[in-house]
């Protein structure tokens, strides 16, 4: 395996370099959380060079995307960032609906917005909790994970599946939400701030946590922009950019008053933690505003538009319903996508999660390119690690929130 990283990170100019030694970190290591490998060149405990070696979880998702139709591929998309699965589904169907030119119903937009924000909280909770866990703070992790369970319950109530709900469909959702779901979201909105402040009180002024994260892995604004960094990572480095405000999609245009863009200027691991913690409260405000103003009406677009599956009753009891169902299920019928291509981006918890869908006239994407934020962010790692200590590897890894399934796809 070649170890060279041909870039500005040169070894210190010394006639004898044999005091440097190489350490293999991963592919299986508790702090990588999933399967990724780092090759570290060390001078004592100082990292001279860090080379990520990825691909251990590559399973050809994008090739599958060229063989599964627009609704089937959602189950695969789910498994990319499995920490916040619904955010991936929303991003995927957002791109497909843009390609097909479908305008969602207001109710579907609001429900999707609530799910997108729950996913953000979902993701940030794991990221902040696991960052604390890797640095020795077990209690904060447990508080965070307990709240994640609540969100799993909400997903289960809506979709019947806890971990990979596959909840969105072209033109709407798998099914409408019920009062039980709304009650659960309301309870979550009421109870979450307490758990959130518990986590903050455990970490915000924790000497160990601060000393291990402040000034570690500093990302400058110029570098963030040049390295394509988006999301909380970029915002913690001072890039004021949030697609929910800049290019409002779903119901974010209506709910723009409910949230602000959270930014910091330091760009270190601690400010990434602070930005994520603060973003959760703004997400909660969005959920609160959306659930209280949830529009009534149908959740799917009109079945006569032949883009959504008709409901079961009309399939069994009317010939039109049966034909509509048939038209979407038969592989030689399905959706008629334009022979065009489009890039559609959403602001997921980790950053810009986008799909570039190429349509060839059929109901299957000709090319379904994912823009995975974890993949883009992980190339920062060698730059952030330079000159730091070995023990800072876990702090930086935790703050980048690398999800290997999304990294390798």
């Amino acid at each position: 395996m070649p170890l060279e990283l041909a870039d500005a990170i040169a070894l210190p100019d010394s006639p004898e370099k044999d005091y440097l030694y190489t350490l293999n970190f991963g592919p299986q290591h508790p702090a990588t959380h999933t399967t990724l490998r780092l090759i570290l060149t060390l001078d004592g405990e100082t990292i001279v060079r860090a080379v990520p070696d990825i691909g251990y979880l590559h399973s050809g998702f994008e090739k599958l995307g060229e063989h599964l139709d627009f609704n089937q591929y959602v189950t695969i998309v789910d498994r990319m960032n499995y920490i916040s699965p619904v955010a991936n589904e929303i991003a995927w169907h957002n791109a497909v609906e843009k390609l097909l030119g479908i305008e969602l119903t207001p109710r579907a937009k609001y429900i999707r917005t609530i799910f997108a924000e729950l996913s953000r909280i979902h993701d940030h909770l794991l990221c902040c909790g696991a960052a604390a866990l890797d640095l020795g703070g077990f209690t904060a992790f447990l508080y965070a994970f307990y709240q994640r369970e609540k969100i799993y319950d909400i997903q289960e109530t809506a979709a019947g599946q806890r971990f990979h709900p596959s909840f969105t469909r072209v033109g709407g959702l798998m099914r409408d939400v019920d009062d039980d779901w709304i009650a659960k979201v309301r309870t979550f909105v009421k109870e979450f701030p307490k758990a959130h402040s518990d986590v903050r009180r455990l970490l915000d002024r924790n000497r160990i946590f601060i000393e291990r994260t402040q000034g570690i892995g500093v990302l400058t604004k110029e570098m963030a922009i040049n390295m394509s960094v988006t999301g909380p990572l970029a915002r913690s480095a001072g890039v004021v950019r949030d697609l929910r405000k800049d290019e409002p999609y779903l119901a974010y245009g209506d709910l723009a008053g409910a949230f602000k863009v959270v930014c910091a200027t330091d760009g270190d691991c601690f400010s990434r933690y602070l930005v994520r913690m603060e973003e959760m409260l703004h997400s909660l405000n969005i959920i609160n505003a959306a659930i209280e103003n949830l529009p009534t009406g149908p959740v799917n677009v009109d079945a006569n538009s032949k883009v959504v599956l008709p409901n079961q009753m009309s399939v069994y009891r009317s010939i039109e319903g049966l034909i509509h169902h048939f038209e979407l299920i038969m592989t030689n019928r399905q959706w008629k996508s334009p022979v065009e291509e489009c890039y559609a981006a959403t602001e997921s918890a980790n950053g810009e999660l986008a799909f570039y869908v190429v349509g060839d006239g059929s109901g299957t994407a000709y090319r379904a390119r994912t823009r995975p934020p974890a993949f883009i962010h992980f190339q920062l790692f060698p730059y952030l690690m330079q000159g730091h200590q070995l023990s800072d590897v876990v702090a930086v890894l935790g703050s980048l929130n690398i999800i290997a399934a999304e990294l390798d796809r």
């Binding site: 395996m1 070649p2 060279e4 990283l5 041909a6 870039d7 990825i54 691909g55 590559h58 050809g60 994008e62 090739k63 599958l64 063989h67 843009k98 030119g101 305008e103 922009i225 040049n226 390295m227 394509s228 960094v229 988006t230 890039v239 950019r241 800049d246 290019e247 409002p248 245009g253 334009p338 022979v339 065009e340 291509e341 489009c342 890039y343 981006a345 810009e352 986008a354 570039y356 190429v358 060839d360 006239g361 000709y366 090319r367 390119r369 823009r371 993949f375 883009i376 992980f378 190339q379 390798d408 796809r409």
Partner: protein, 177 residues
């Protein structure tokens, strides 16, 4: 609809940008096309670097995404591979997609590593999946697939089930790893 208004604004800004770039580079360097809110500059592979460089100077300071596709069986396609660069101006939020095409044999493009360092892994991924070479990339090797892998799996002539690599994979000995 708010969306149609936004698309109108986006296209108006794009027209201004495109005419500005035309003034700088000449009118026959690229063609434009739009779809929904996606605005594209389409150029041949030998001109694409000049356009990207001009875009960077114009203020598109971030390369949001970059990837490619194999248009082997695509309706009315003239060229085999397409590569797109999604650029963002982080201060105005403006987006533009620069698209180019390359062909067999030896599909080659200039690397944009000098303009946006973020292209590093994205170019490696395109090379990994399609075999398009990026001249000037400092470290062009496979990224997701093993180095020993011999084909380019996202090409359309590569079967979904593979060519049996999984069953004929040479074991890696400890001494070689």
């Amino acid at each position: 609809m708010a969306d149609t208004e936004r698309i109108a604004v986006v296209r108006e800004r794009f027209d201004a940008t495109a005419s500005l770039l035309r003034g700088k580079l000449g009118s026959d360097v690229f063609t434009t096309s739009t779809f929904r809110d996606n605005c594209r500059l389409i150029a041949s592979s030998d001109k694409v670097y000049v356009i990207l460089e001009a875009c960077k100077l114009h203020g598109f300071d971030m390369l949001a995404d970059m990837s490619g596709a194999d248009y082997l069986h695509y309706p009315d396609a003239k060229d085999r591979y397409g590569v797109w660069y999604c650029l963002v101006n982080t201060s105005t939020g403006e987006r533009v997609i620069v698209k180019t095409y390359v062909n067999d044999p030896n599909p080659t493009l200039p690397s944009v590593y000098g303009l946006w360092k973020g292209c590093d892994w994205m170019e490696r991924e395109v090379y990994d999946m399609y075999g398009i070479e990026f001249k000037g990339h400092p470290d062009l090797r496979r990224i997701l697939l093993p180095d020993e892998f011999s084909s380019f799996p996202l090409r359309k002539d590569y079967p979904m089930r593979g060519k049996g690599e999984r069953h004929n994979f040479n074991p890696i000995l400890r001494s070689e790893s």
